[in-house]
Symmetry: C2
Subunit: 255 residues, 2 copies
């Protein structure tokens, strides 16, 4: 039977990255696209609880059905699964290809990865793809080769239950990429540097900026893999319990 | 030296829950409040990357400094740490008290818990508190008793590094609460039921609604603890790697 594949992203339905991903997903089945009608980078796992959501049909060549959604990336997945697929789950959700890195701690902030995480919560095989190039003119040719390999493998062999994949692709031509590494998320962070400006009435406002800092010297991390010209694949789960801390904390039961 | 405590939430700076938390935090040190200027429930780990952020001073009795922030709960933490504390980390971040449950999968969607998670990413001891009562008239008296016990313990004994606590309090009077249980996050989900309506021009729009379903029968979960009249405490970490899946996925390196 024809596979049903949902394509989402966080850069919005007009981003070149989603067109690259649609072109690959279409090789494996019937594609439905539900993507934000505006850029939704950094939206994390936000959902619309205080506002309404709309979806409007758009035309994308070679695609069964495509919709621009007024909500967040996670809203897109929820709307697609419930309204378009009517609760009958798609065979695969692919998110991206994001314009920019989503390795290490970025997975927490990323709308691309939160859409994939929402798929994992629904136990739908889900993969988020990100290219380490923020440019609107980013070259997705190597990304498409690896997206095809990884989607093919996922459809043939499955993905562990209630898990999604976080795939990052280094910014280089395919001949320089050394292959794929399955990794853990590097322990890293952003050192924020707010850019303070003054508006025409004399009041301050701020832009969030920052510098990425990797504290993690492990050679089994996604940051290490990418710095060494590998495509990184991190299995990601919605359980954020720090299981190793449970015993240490037990003494709080006696306060 | 006087402890520096940052109080945040996601229900907004006028919510009764944050006033309850401020009254407790004030017993332990000097309180700074940075909270959203409007409700930000369900914002997850969203940050403002495509828009500017403003903070405006407000007056709250007994508080050193308080600001209403135009951004998300995570923006509030980033702004406080970088602009107000100037990178010198507070001794403790407390988030809430949320009007409504943030147990199990809700931790992923919750602005309250994402603010605490942002503290964990910065390795600042951080605790999110939620009362299982959505009402604006919720009775926070038992919550305050447990918030005081848990804050006191956290300041005396610390919290595991790069970890925050997700504290949920059952909706009942203090005499019926049996104590505290340290738990793991229950595996649960929301079954969405979008409420479709028609606008005055004849076009559809949607409200996200849903029914909470707990699939997890374990007696070591937060849902079990709350159903059995305990306050639940789950240690939460920003590492979402599914470590147990890494080996299973290794074969994808050969595609």
């Amino acid at each position: 039977m024809t596979k049903q594949i949902l394509v989402v992203n966080d850069d919005g339905i007009t981003a070149p990255g989603i067109l690259a991903l649609i072109s690959i997903a279409s090789k494996f089945g019937e594609v439905t696209v539900v993507a934000p009608d505006k850029p939704q980078s950094g939206m994390g796992h936000a959902i619309s609880v205080n506002s309404t959501i709309r979806i409007n049909p758009v035309k994308i060549e070679g695609v069964k059905q495509a919709f621009a959604c007024s909500g967040t990336p996670v809203d897109c997945v929820k709307m697609a699964v419930n309204i378009l697929f009517k609760g009958k789950k798609p065979d695969l959700i692919v998110s991206g290809i994001n314009h920019g890195a989503n390795h290490s701690i970025n997975v927490i902030y990323s709308g691309t990865m939160s859409a994939a995480m929402e798929g994992a919560i629904e136990n739908i095989p889900s993969i988020g793809f990100s290219l380490l190039d923020y440019s609107i003119d980013a070259d997705f040719s190597a990304s498409k080769i690896y997206a095809e390999k990884i989607i093919k493998h996922a459809l043939q062999h499955g993905i562990p239950a209630y898990t999604c994949l976080n795939v990052n692709i280094p910014k280089m031509e395919n001949e320089y990429i050394k292959g794929i590494k399955v990794c853990r998320q590097a322990m890293a962070n952003w050192e924020e540097e707010f850019d303070e400006r003054i508006d025409p009435t004399g009041k301050p406002y701020y832009w969030l900026t920052g510098k990425f800092v990797n504290y993690d010297k492990g050679e089994d991390t996604d940051v290490w893999a990418l710095e060494n010209n590998f495509v990184s694949v991190v299995p990601v789960q919605p359980d954020v319990t720090s299981h190793k801390s449970i015993n240490e904390l037990k003494k709080i039961e006696n306060v």
